[in-house]
């Protein structure tokens, strides 16, 4: 069962295939090495034997049979080669080589149970034959050594290949097992759990890294949902209980119709506030999920700034404040028109709402280097450096603005929209006043 599981893994199949291919080429190399070695050794041997035979033939030509036999007796003694001379009647006159055939050229001769002899035969005058031979023992041994070397090589390859295949499949299965158990842990509710990633970064690790990123994203989304429900639980409790008090108050004693109407109207105003806060929270959550990013299109930010300024200028004027706009035309970025409109609106509206009369508000859109820079500045009271990061948090309201209308979500929405557009939002000191600096990457540079 376990073996079958191993064999089914892709890594085992792959290593088996490689092993087969490797073995085939190994055998092919072995065969050719064997034959080349044998051939080259035979060639050397035959060369030296032929030279010896020619020398003896020359001796014979000079000194006749006696000289030859004497030479053979001496050389046999040295035991380098073996010799044999055959007479007219096929009788062997000298040397240890016997039973060779009376035929000029090469022949192989078995001597006893020993190795083959390579024998070269030369025809002498008077139908005598001279044979010079050399044992093929060395060649045979070399051949055997080559074959043995390759066989043990093949054995080693087989052992390593099969073992390696098993090891790889085991490693693969172990990884899969680790991923499986991590996934099971996540399914059973441990959302912080991540898939294991090894250092060697193979395809599985890359996949695991990608899946982990996905899990991070899902985790962030879940946190977001959690955050929203916490916010709702925390900050809607107050207005809802206020609403309840009012309704209970109205029920306590009989009232006149106009008093009831008054109570109903105030209760209705309270529900409106609650709903507005509620939808603002949902909106932040939706923006933060980033799903709007897929619908990004080139948006003319200059036009948006212009139209929002145009919409809010009368409101500012009515409160004795002035808006001065300096807008470089036709600056575009990839984004969501509706959200960017809300962003500019919230920033400008914030500047109008949280400043005293006679405040001058500057809104300025221009290219700064290769970036779009939007500055919304006022010369109002400003925000102390320590509180600046806090005003971007949900529901955070400065002491001085507790009494102004709003739910403390305007800048949180703005911050979420800036984040969605990969922009930067900084709160700076305008001495006096607050200066918001937003930086975006323009469309043509994407």
């Amino acid at each position: 069962m376990k073996l079958a599981k191993f064999i089914r893994t892709s890594s085992f199949k792959l290593s088996a295939l490689y092993l087969g291919l490797f073995l085939c080429s190994f055998v092919a190399i072995g065969v050719s090495v064997y034959f080349l070695t044998i051939h080259s050794l035979e060639f050397q041997l035959k060369n030296s034997v032929e030279t010896e035979a020619k020398r003896l033939e020359a001796e014979y030509a000079v000194g006749g049979m006696d000289e030859l036999l004497e030479e053979i007796a001496e050389d046999e003694h040295a035991a380098l080669d073996s010799y044999g001379v055959m007479g007219q009647q096929g009788d062997f006159l000298a040397g240890s080589l016997k039973h060779f055939q009376a035929k000029a050229g090469w022949q192989k001769l078995a001597v006893g149970s020993g190795p083959l002899f390579y024998v070269f035969v030369i025809a002498l005058p008077n139908q005598h034959w001279l044979a010079v031979g050399h044992s093929g023992e060395a060649i045979q041994k070399t051949g055997t050594a080559v074959i043995e070397a390759f066989l043990s090589g093949i054995l080693l390859v087989l052992v390593l290949g099969v073992g390696g295949g098993f090891y790889l499949s085991h490693a693969f299965l172990r990884k899969i097992q680790a991923i499986t158990s991590a996934t099971e842990a996540i399914i059973s509710g441990d959302l912080q759990h991540r898939l294991p990633v090894a250092d060697n970064r193979d395809e599985l690790d890359h996949l695991a890294v990608l899946l982990n990123q996905m899990l991070d994203k899902i985790g962030a989304l879940l946190d977001n949902v959690q955050q929203v429900s916490n916010d709702i639980a925390h900050d809607l409790r107050t207005p809802i209980s206020r609403l309840q008090f009012r309704l209970e108050d109205a029920l306590k004693k009989p009232l006149t119709a106009s008093q009831y109407q008054e109570h109903i109207a105030s209760a209705r105003a309270e529900t409106e506030t609650i709903l507005a806060t509620f939808s603002a929270l949902l909106r932040i959550a939706q923006i933060e999920t980033g799903t709007r990013r897929s619908g990004f299109q080139p948006v003319n930010l200059s036009k948006i700034v212009l139209s929002v300024t145009d919409a809010l200028s009368p409101v500012a004027e009515e409160q004795g404040k002035t808006i001065h706009a300096e807008i470089t035309p036709d600056l575009t970025l990839a984004g969501d028109k509706e959200l960017l409109t809300q962003l500019i609106f919230n920033l400008l509206d914030n500047a109008i709402v949280h400043t005293p009369a006679d405040t001058r508000i500057d809104i300025n859109l221009h290219l700064s280097g290769h970036q779009l820079e939007l500055v919304v500045a006022d010369n109002g009271p400003g925000i102390a450096a320590a509180y600046r990061p806090k005003v971007l948090q949900r529901f955070y309201r400065l002491e001085q603005s507790r009494t102004t209308p709003g739910n403390g979500l305007g800048l949180s929405i703005a911050a979420a929209i800036v984040e969605l557009h990969d922009g930067k939002l900084d709160l700076l000191d305008n001495s006096p006043g607050l200066k918001l600096v937003l930086v975006f990457t323009p469309y043509n540079r994407h």
Binding site: S279, L282, V315
Partner: protein, 225 residues
């Protein structure tokens, strides 16, 4: 005028249907998508008010089915789906307007009236005439009793929208969406400020108010004085 309300929540359905009956409409209602589709196909309605999330057949599919069968009766989506993309999705499916729950009944009434008055095929008007007001849409000129009134572009768009819907209540949200293209609720008196500026320009020389405030609902310009 005959309307159909397709909404699965009993209480909302009754609230909407009764409210519309009170202001003079004939109203039929259905509690699920399939029933609603049958009703819409057979009933010859002047407008449909449809919830997005319905049992058996969701509102989006219902509208798509209606539109693909060649039915072009005005449709208003009434829904709790207030997602930023939901509105676009709803309008793309063929709805004419989109109202997110919770809503004020006056808002619904105004929008239904606007739908019923909306010409089925857009006519290219060159001029608008309301009471003693004359608007040249091509030259972007406004005259009241023959006197030229100079308006800012936004004020012109505001007046144009109100005049195109003369005789109907136009809500603050409708103005925000159609004049400024703002699809969020700005918690300021922005609309009121612009209206009061426009009013003072129109009323220059002691003339009577053209733009009337309808308490708790919006604004109206009557067709005749």
């Amino acid at each position: 005028m005959k309307l159909a309300v397709i909404e699965d929540d009993k209480e909302t359905r009754a609230y909407v249907a009764n409210g519309l009956k009170e202001i003079g409409f004939v109203v039929d209602s259905a509690g699920d998508g399939l029933e609603g589709l049958l009703l819409a196909k057979e009933g010859h309605y002047d407008a449909l008010i449809i919830d997005r999330m319905l049992p058996h057949l969701d509102g989006l599919t219902l509208v798509k089915t209606l539109r693909s069968s060649g039915c072009n009766v005005p449709v208003l989506f009434l829904t709790t789906m207030c997602g930023i993309d939901d509105r676009v999705e709803g309008l793309n499916a063929g709805a004419d307007d989109y109202l997110v729950k919770p809503f004020a009944f006056s808002e619904l009434a105004a929008r239904v009236n606007a739908l019923l008055r909306r010409p089925r095929t857009t006519v290219d008007l060159k001029t608008l005439q309301v009471q003693d007001l004359e608007i040249d849409l091509l030259k972007r000129l406004v005259k009241r009793s023959g006197h030229l009134i100079e308006l800012q572009p936004t004020e012109f768009r505001l007046l144009e929208y109100l005049s195109r819907h003369a005789g109907q209540v136009v809500t603050r949200t409708m103005l925000l969406e159609n004049v400024w293209d703002f699809h969020f609720d700005p918690k300021t008196n922005m609309v009121e400020t612009h209206i009061s500026r426009l009013r003072s320009k129109l009323n220059a020389g002691g003339k009577a108010d053209l733009i009337l405030t309808v308490r708790g609902a919006g604004y109206i310009i009557h067709e005749t004085g």
